[in-house]
């Protein structure tokens, strides 16, 4: 509990710093004036532009980290990330179709993306359901196949796109929070909180399932139900994150591992701390993405990749030594 409090405090600090940093420099007095109600350039930029983006980064980061932790438990695989089941490819396809069919209607990209993600979730789930149970390895296989198939379709469609849309989708595929203007942030927050709560309720069962499904069943875990609910929660978290910000990589994979190094495998603690850590990491990455090369905005997925790849290698070597 104390730990969560500290993390939360750190997170708030990070948010304040992020508010400060950006393409347009502000002084402390600008910021305080804006906070205390004075309308002007500072308040417009801070509250209409930066704050919504930061809030979105918080929730997308939290969402991806929690989803990663859940999928790692569900698939019994430490290398699982939220996209391994093809959810981001489904969302990408949805976004592309929105770009091709309705290029001049805004907001539809997020909707199509969400729909694509959820449709993929449903299909992969049905494919992974063999012999009346949801089996980890058939789920993984179904997911990998779907991801490959969808990627092929996406590449094919890319050949038919004009340069504006091609550029658009390329940024999206790398993960890009600059699309936040087309996203209903309130809905994102609600969805992430609801799905996150659902996942957290499965935490004790997930702990038991770490010992093996048969063992968990013997201990009283309703394994089938827990798997379904975890899958639903994790897929929703992923779908919402991807629909809002594209496929931002490494957060779903690495943050749970990092948190595990410090806090261990207990999912009751792992889930909320991963959420906070994921939120912090993404806000940090996005702040870098939008200020390092200002006014040019780097896609945040590029920043997470640059930060994440060496970290991943380090974790891999550390675990192989253990």
């Amino acid at each position: 509990m104390i730990v969560c409090g500290t993390l939360l405090g750190l997170l708030l600090l990070l948010v304040l710093v992020a508010l400060f940093v950006g393409a347009v420099p502000f002084t402390l007095s600008d910021v305080t004036n804006a906070i205390f109600g004075q309308k002007g350039l500072a308040s417009i930029i801070l509250f209409e532009l930066r704050l919504p983006r930061i809030v979105l980064a918080l929730f997308v980061g939290a969402s991806l980290a929690m989803a990663g932790a859940c999928f790692q438990a569900l698939l019994r695989n430490a290398l699982a990330d939220p996209y391994v089941l093809g959810i981001s490819s489904g969302a990408a396809l949805g976004v592309m179709l929105a770009l091709i069919w309705l290029p001049h209607t805004s907001g539809v990209q997020a909707v199509f993306g969400l729909f694509g993600a959820l449709a993929t979730t449903g299909i992969v789930y049905m494919l992974g359901f063999r012999h009346g149970r949801l089996m980890s390895h058939s789920l993984l296989l179904a997911g990998v196949i779907s991801a490959s198939f969808l990627s092929a379709v996406i590449v094919f469609l890319m050949t038919a796109m004009n340069s504006r849309d091609l550029r658009s989708i390329t940024y999206w595929l790398m993960g890009d929070l600059s699309y936040y203007t087309g996203v209903p942030i309130g809905l994102v927050i609600a969805a992430v909180l609801a799905a996150g709560a659902l996942a957290w309720l499965q935490a004790p069962s997930l702990n038991a399932m770490l010992m093996g499904e048969q063992e968990a069943l013997a201990m009283g875990v309703d394994v089938a139900r827990v798997k379904l609910l975890t899958y639903l929660a994790a897929s929703t978290l992923t779908a919402v994150a991807v629909a809002a910000a594209g496929s931002i990589g490494f957060i779903g994979l690495l943050v749970p591992h990092l948190v595990r190094l410090v806090f261990g495998n207990d999912y009751r603690i792992l889930l909320p701390t991963s959420a906070l850590a994921g939120a912090a990491v993404l806000v940090l990455a996005d702040t870098l993405a939008r200020s390092i090369a200002a006014p040019t905005e780097l896609p945040v997925g590029a920043v997470t990749a640059v930060l994440g790849a060496p970290l991943f290698i380090y974790l891999l070597r550390r675990s192989s030594e253990a």
Binding site: P204, A208, M211, A218, M219, G220, R268
Partner: protein, 286 residues
């Protein structure tokens, strides 16, 4: 068991299996019977009655359906026909949590080399009693301490599972089963791969639970002499059919064992405990 010597006429039957049958449609590995290659497998029909403070050992060759029978008795698998009830309740129709409060399993093929502390591992067994958010209370901690004491694991409580020996791990599994406060304990080859001293320790512990805490225990066992030593009753299974059930002396018979295992044996009495003892007749020289 119809041919059981019921000297205690007021014996209260707790575990009851009636006309139990189980059929496989295709070959599937199940528990210890991984070498099964038959296309169809039938277990039963069989009936069992067992009371509290009784320990039944299921013996028989590999592939005879011992583990399947254990899963059926524990309500983890639903029979094709017949019913299994414990304490009057049909186990396979209970919710997992309710079932886990009455029945505990101890297996030996769990992937246990996990970086989790022994105390935390044992605490997992309290799942069936936990609140929705799963945080432990005083009663949980009390039970864990008791179980660690009973299995002599107190000084290892804060060590990790992957840092202790195989025998200690198996005791931890037993401790985790104990915290479920079970009335029925089902053990699947609990002594396989353990050193002799650990085998004896474990079985003695099971006996203590059975005698002092009134638990009903059923164990699938490999070693005929250990089964004879520690169990009250035996059930000999071959190809899914019961060859014989009853006291060890009634089940460990030359003809039955030869039929089951295809090996010639001689039965006499262990001079120290008085229990039936199985010896190989033709060892090196057939």
């Amino acid at each position: 068991m119809s041919n059981l010597d019921t000297t205690a006429t007021d014996r209260l039957v707790t575990l009851e299996a009636r006309s139990l049958e189980f059929k496989y449609k295709q070959a599937r590995p199940s528990g210890a019977d991984r070498n099964e290659r038959q296309t169809a497998f039938e277990l039963g029909p069989l009936s069992i009655e067992l009371a509290s403070k009784e320990f039944l050992a299921i013996i028989g060759p590999n592939g005879s359906g011992k583990s399947t029978l254990l899963n059926l008795l524990g309500g983890l698998v639903t029979p094709s026909s017949g019913r299994v009830s414990f304490g009057g309740a049909e186990l396979s129709s209970l919710l997992p949590r309710e079932r886990a409060r009455r029945v505990a399993f101890v297996r030996q093929d769990t992937p246990l080399a996990f970086p989790i502390k022994v105390a935390q591992f044992v605490m997992l067994g309290r799942f069936a009693f936990a609140s929705p958010l799963g945080f432990e209370n005083a009663k949980d901690r009390e039970m864990v301490n008791w179980a660690l004491k009973a299995t002599s694991l107190e000084r290892l409580a804060n060590r990790r599972l992957d840092e202790i020996s195989g025998g200690e791990r198996q005791r931890a599994v037993l401790a985790r089963a104990l915290v479920q406060e079970p009335e029925l304990m089902l053990l699947d080859e609990p002594t396989a791969s353990l050193d002799l001293n650990f085998q004896v320790d474990l079985l003695r512990l099971v006996r203590t639970m059975v005698e002092d805490h009134g638990i009903t225990a059923v164990a699938v066992m490999h070693e005929l002499n250990l089964a004879s030593e520690f169990a009250d009753y035996l059930l000999l299974l071959k190809n899914g059919r019961v060859l014989q059930t009853g006291l060890p002396a009634e089940v460990l018979r030359r003809d039955l064992l030869e039929d089951a295992y295809g090996v010639q044996v001689a039965i006499d009495r262990n001079p120290y405990s008085g229990r039936p003892r199985v010896s190989l007749m033709a060892g090196r020289n057939p």
